[in-house]
Symmetry: C2
């Protein structure tokens, strides 16, 4: 270690490591069945279609050059058309995670209030922590964010700069915000002057019916992603929002990484523009993920009976399970890893210091992804989890 010692910034000190990414390292080796990550199924990634697109794209040397900071123009036009906005309202980002980071940098000063959901997507919590935001949390029920609780929070003040929501097939809780609540949220944004961040990586992954229309109004920044419907390695996400916000984000993205990959953008644009192929591919994902969701929830209910409340996943990649018998899921994880199964303990989805959040509910909860494994493996995972649960309770 050099002397004098190296001092890290306040921002670096604020950001804690992602429990999920650390867990992924732990479970990537050996014979652990990991339900921890939000990873799409390898066998459902369209490798052949991407290889075919790559060959065509690489015939043009321009695909290897720098591209515009807002993204490859062909991809921007396509996204603008899909989202029903103008091209000046689109920025392509390195997954939707970079969209979150850039919008936080463009809009937040340290000390600003950001409303998150309870439980919340941990990657959003990390971004808002890095920005030095004060977090306030609003609980979810079966219809998504509890808008009444948000109204109470707004009445108590201060007015948040942003309200973040995964409105469709929530990560981690699986629920979807009703159309009526979406309209109420938009009205509150207009009245109080905050911006809504509608973080939507899972909207296309519905099983029986699509989610309600996006949150309406002018005060919405919407994040989309190709990671869950095409492939994570394309690192292609996007945001759409008010033009002044997009202009500020463009300047910050120049500083952050100059631009994305023209190669990856061109591949993503070709696949998203190939509508017959995309429709067939999405139909396969919906059917297969839907079957996996049913297999996992049924197996968990069979193994645990009344000891565990398991959500019905109607889309996305996750189910949310809450122990009714006082099992602390952070403690259970140790026994689970010994039995060869992993999940993410609920505590990873809570923000420190958000008093609106009943943190004890998180202690008894777990997020399990059904997307990455086939039905037989999911049933085996539920069985191993049951053994871990017995072992943990015997030791108590």
């Amino acid at each position: 270690v050099p002397h004098p010692p190296i001092a890290l910034s306040r921002q670096a000190a604020r950001v804690s490591t992602s429990a999920i990414r650390d867990l992924l390292k732990l479970t990537s080796a050996g014979n652990v069945i990991s339900l921890a990550g939000g990873l799409p199924a390898l066998e459902l990634l369209p490798g052949a279609r991407i290889a075919q697109a790559a060959q065509g794209v690489l015939a043009n040397p321009g695909a290897l050059q720098y591209t515009e900071t807002r993204g490859l123009p062909a991809l921007i036009e396509l996204i603008a058309r899909r989202e029903g906005v103008g091209a000046a309202q689109v920025v392509v980002t390195t997954g939707s995670q970079q969209a979150l980071d850039l919008l936080a940098r463009a809009l937040l000063n340290p000390g600003d209030t950001v409303v998150v959901e309870a439980p919340a997507y941990p990657g959003a919590l990390q971004v808002f922590q890095a920005a030095g935001a004060r977090l306030a949390a609003v609980p979810l029920d079966g219809d998504g964010m509890d808008i009444g609780a948000l109204e109470q929070l707004l009445a108590a003040g201060p007015t948040p700069a942003l309200v973040h929501t995964v409105a469709s097939f929530h990560n981690p809780q699986g629920v979807t915000m009703s159309a009526e609540r979406r309209a109420r949220l938009a009205e509150l944004a207009e009245r109080h002057g905050f911006l809504i961040v509608e973080d939507n990586p899972y909207g296309e992954l519905w099983f029986d019916a699509p989610p309600p229309a996006p949150i309406p109004g002018e005060r919405v920044i919407r994040l989309g992603s190709a990671s869950k419907i095409l492939a994570p390695a394309l690192r292609t996400g996007w945001l759409t929002g008010p033009e002044p916000v997009c202009a500020a984000i463009e300047r910050l993205k120049q500083a952050a990484d100059l631009c994305g990959s023209a190669l990856n953008h061109a591949i993503a644009a070709e696949l998203l523009a190939d509508e017959p192929w995309l429709a067939a591919h999405l139909a396969v994902l919906r059917t297969e993920y839907g079957a996996r969701a049913k297999a996992l929830t049924a197996a968990l209910r069979e193994e645990f009976d009344d000891a565990l409340a398991v959500s019905d996943a109607a889309g996305g990649m996750f189910c949310w399970a809450q122990f009714r018998d006082g099992t602390d899921t952070s403690e259970l994880l140790t026994a689970a890893l010994e039995q060869g199964v992993a999940f993410v303990p609920g505590r990873a989805f809570g923000a420190d210091g958000t008093d609106a959040l009943d943190s004890s509910a998180l202690d008894f909860s777990a997020r399990m992804s059904f997307a990455h494994r086939d039905a037989d493996t999911l049933r085996e995972a539920a069985h191993r989890l049951r053994r871990a649960h017995s072992q943990a309770h015997t030791q108590l």
Copy 2:
């Protein structure tokens, strides 16, 4: 525009747009010969080799999945070997621009002092502006950064957190820091406790002889990039540095974009590991860029004679030209665009409020890239520039 209006952050207000990227938009259409961008030559990009690598890489579906935040392990190992450091001292980034941004986020608080070169790489200025740093500038001479001027600056205080240098084939001035100055800079870093950022995108692009060995010591963060030797669209850069810095940068990168593209990392790793191919490819780049540098400098000297001092480029992508006849290059650019040629006016390489910098020298200077065009086109560009110069002086 929604009501109430949207408030941008202080960070967004601090970051100005990149003059170069704005100029690139202006010159991308039509018949302008642009010497403005730092773009590699399209016809020298190894498209066929990348297409071949892509096919092999895409046969493994794992290449389409998320990868580790620090980068694909195979690429990290390769970089660690090339740079002579441990794997825990490497982070792969979205070009070296992201490395700059992440290290600034990890190490700087608003108000901290950062020493930059005069002239400086504008992408570094943007990053340090975003971080809210106070900039101090040290001039360059033929042996790179003027270490005597740096010593005076250190004596006057405050101690900077970082000293940023493009030590080999400087952007924009083309000069290379001597071995003796590298050693003195390292001693100063040890004595005063600052960190050196050795930003090295061009080190491999030497024409007659390689640059001196990297800046020695424990207090160096070194940035490298595949953009100039393989292809920009792989968006593959890296940093090596002290382990605590890399650990903080990993946490911040989790928040910034989760991870880079496993696909692009795997392609870059295959090409960098293919030593015979890489050696032959670099030999072609060195020969061709060297010939282009000579063509541009000779043509500029022939067209302008004593009115223009043109640097001898010994590597990299840029030559630096200073008018001795009082021509303001920001004004010249208007006439140049009319004549169908573009360059970057010197003012783009200066930081506002850096009093150590003789800003009038920048007013008469221009950066011209010789890499992107063949020798005949470069001669035509010099000719058009001469016509623009005559036109501008006639109008005065």
